[in-house]
Amino acid sequence: MRENSAKITVMSRSENESFVRAAVSAFVSQLDPTLEELADIKTAVSEAVTNSIVHGYAEKKGDIMIDIYIKDDKVKITVTDNGCGIADVKEAMQPLFTTNTDGERSGMGFTVMETFMDNISVNSIVDVGTKVTMEKTIGLRTL
């Protein structure tokens, strides 16, 4: 019955994406995941943090909060920003949906999070911010 948590706060700068990935890895390593499980978590967290940087804060700067909570063999991660928020979350989560018009974004961020984590939920209020909650059980895969 192990239980532990950590909170990380960084500025919305692209350099901090690799830091957050590494720090989340270090914390989740307590559960001794496989390389694949860890890669899944890092990829999902990257997508959420990137969204906070490029959509949530866009040109502005602000803080991104990453909460990691582990209990037994489960990890729960929330990525929160105080950015512009999302008007229609359901629409935003559709595969290929993007508000990015310069063609740099694929619209697959939420789909990637859903694919690599057991479940995700998104809470957002326009002009207040966005919180993405993701959960994954470690050690589910059988031979």
Binding site: A22, A26, T34, L35, L38, A39
Partner: protein, 77 residues
């Protein structure tokens, strides 16, 4: 045996703890080699580049390989 090894090499079953130790060991050797080549202390980024890891990931891997008593060893050195 060969099959088992191939199977174990698949990312799906290798534990992160083992991989981190491997990276840390590779980094220690690479540091020695680089420092002979460069004739100065190697930077984290130089070692990371040589072994194909991100500096931030290498930094985390180096922590994974630290035995609890090393703190005191460092101090006594």
């Amino acid at each position: 045996m060969g099959e088992i090894k191939r199977f174990l090499r698949d990312d799906g079953i290798i534990k992160v703890s083992r991989r981190l130790k491997e990276i840390a060991q590779k980094a220690k050797i690479t540091k020695e080699i680089l420092e002979k080549e460069l004739n100065r202390e190697a930077k984290l980024s130089e070692i990371a580049e040589r072994i194909g890891e991100l500096p931030s990931d290498l930094a985390v891997a180096l922590e994974a390989n630290v035995a609890p008593e090393s703190l005191y060893r460092e101090f006594n050195d």
